[in-house]
Amino acid sequence: MSATIEVNGLSKWFGNKVAVSELSVNFSPGITGLLGPNGAGKTTMMRVVAGLQVPSQGSVSILGKDPRTDPEIYRKVALVPEDEAVYGHLTASQFVTLAARLSGIDNIEGRVVEAIHLVEMSDSSDRKLDGFSKGMRQRIKVAAALVSDPEILLLDEPLNGADPVQRARLIALFRRLGEEGKTVLVSSHILAEVERMTDQVVAMVDGRLAAMGHISEIRAAMSDKPRRVYIETDQTRRLGSALIQLDGVVGIELDEDRLTLQVTDAQGFARGIPKILADGNYDVTRIEPTDESLESVFRYLVEGE
């Protein structure tokens, strides 16, 4: 799939502080999670991509155009900024109408109603934003971004402040937009939420690209980090001594009713374990990898442990 956002050798610094360093990454239609701990440079990268900040070095192009020099691109790009800021004196409907008017779109009334409906805020459309909770503000910002039906949606921590039900609904909405072929870039430090939205991630640490791609591919590429496999059985000692014979098993932790293996060759392990279990007639109730999740992968990337 061709890239809609291209970031080439991007660096951004503020005085002596380097926020983003030599970042090269492309984004294609679908949802991509932008991960990183606080201070990793996610928001700065998002702002540079949005054209709100000037690259110190390198370049950004959206649909082949530079957002800094070609404002027409903003007909196809929308940002939900991280800040809670909204125009408190406006009602929800007025806020989304303003976004529609400034974007120069037609049939404003219908689009505004539709956008507010998408984020399930129709009941609050005549209330002033000053009285909105953080989660409601987030949702109305999403509505203001969606009103122009953008091809590219930049979402900076869009789930901040939303309650669990709202989060689930917003996640479903973002997934649907991704499936419709829009490029949706979502930054978040809440990994479980990103995991519910997409398998495609870009991880940043200290302003640099730490990893990109499918979560399982990133995990597979960490050859220096043995995978941990959890096995629940009441024959831990006997099974443990059998499994240590398998190629790629480099460590075993024994507990009363479980084993935790460290495995360097996951595929070899997957091929070999059925035969061992069958031959030894072991009673195993559960086998699962414990560090395949996004959280584990991310911890390895950030903390190196």
Partner: protein, 243 residues
């Protein structure tokens, strides 16, 4: 672009601020008809008039600084700038809209101050001829100040302090000490236009410094200030971080 101007104008014209800044702008303008009604005549009146015009130069300039300097500064500080920046307008259009909104907001204050002085004049029997032409002073000043303060507000977070320095030191002390600087004084440029509509006595005329009265030259200078202000803001919107 009209939606952008309208949004920026309405956002900055909050009720409390509008009342406070109108009151600030109106104090000297309202004083004059009161002085006329009090029987002041001749040289004393000319002296009082000079004081009123100079006073209005301070109070209106400060009000214009607050209202127009905040046009984009507030958007930046509050984090709402992306809502207007990420729109399909050229940076020139955005700059022009911002200065237009700033000028409109400052002019509203000026017109309100002028209207108050006319009403006061009518109330005390001074007649509209005393204050009727004041609009020719406030509106050009509003345009000039917006052209200076809107870009200043966008570029510097301490724009209020810098603007006060310009008004209190640049426009008064430095402009008197260095005659060349008087040519750049927005208030004097506005006064030179105003002087086409009223007859200044020697005291009030002295406030102009080396600037020759006349609408033509004043409007030309005002246009130059406006072009420079919009150009500077366009450059800043293109080349500087918006957040």
């Amino acid at each position: 672009m009209i939606h952008l101007v309208s949004h920026l104008y309405r956002r900055t014209m909050r009720k409390g601020r509008l009342i406070g800044l109108t009151a600030l702008s109106a104090v000297p303008a309202v004083l004059f008809p009161l002085l006329v009604a009090g029987g002041l005549e001749g040289a004393g009146l000319d002296e009082a008039y000079a004081g009123v015009v100079t006073g209005a130069g301070y109070t209106f300039a400060i009000a214009a600084l607050v209202i127009s300097g905040g046009i984009l500064r507030e958007e930046r500080d509050s984090g709402t700038l992306p809502y207007i920046y990420m729109r399909p307008y050229s940076r020139f259009s955005l700059a022009l809209a911002s200065v237009a909104a700033g000028a409109g907001a400052a002019a509203t204050l000026g017109i309100a101050a002028w209207a108050l002085s006319v009403l006061t004049g009518l109330f005390v029997g001074a007649g509209p001829s005393v204050t009727g032409t004041g609009i020719a002073l406030f509106v050009p000043a509003a345009i000039g100040y917006a052209a200076v303060f809107v870009p200043l507000g966008y570029l510097y977070s301490r724009s209020l302090l810098i603007g006060l320095g310009y008004v209190l030191v640049g426009e008064t002390i430095l402009a008197f000490v260095i005659p060349g600087l008087a040519q750049l004084s927005i208030w004097r440029i506005a006064m030179s236009i105003y002087a086409s509509f009223v007859e200044f006595g020697p005291e009030a005329g002295a406030g102009l410094g080396p600037i020759a009265p006349g609408a033509g030259g004043g409007i030309a200078k005002l246009t130059a200030v406006l072009v420079a202000g919009v150009a500077l803001l366009t450059w800043a919107l293109r080349k500087r971080d918006a957040l």
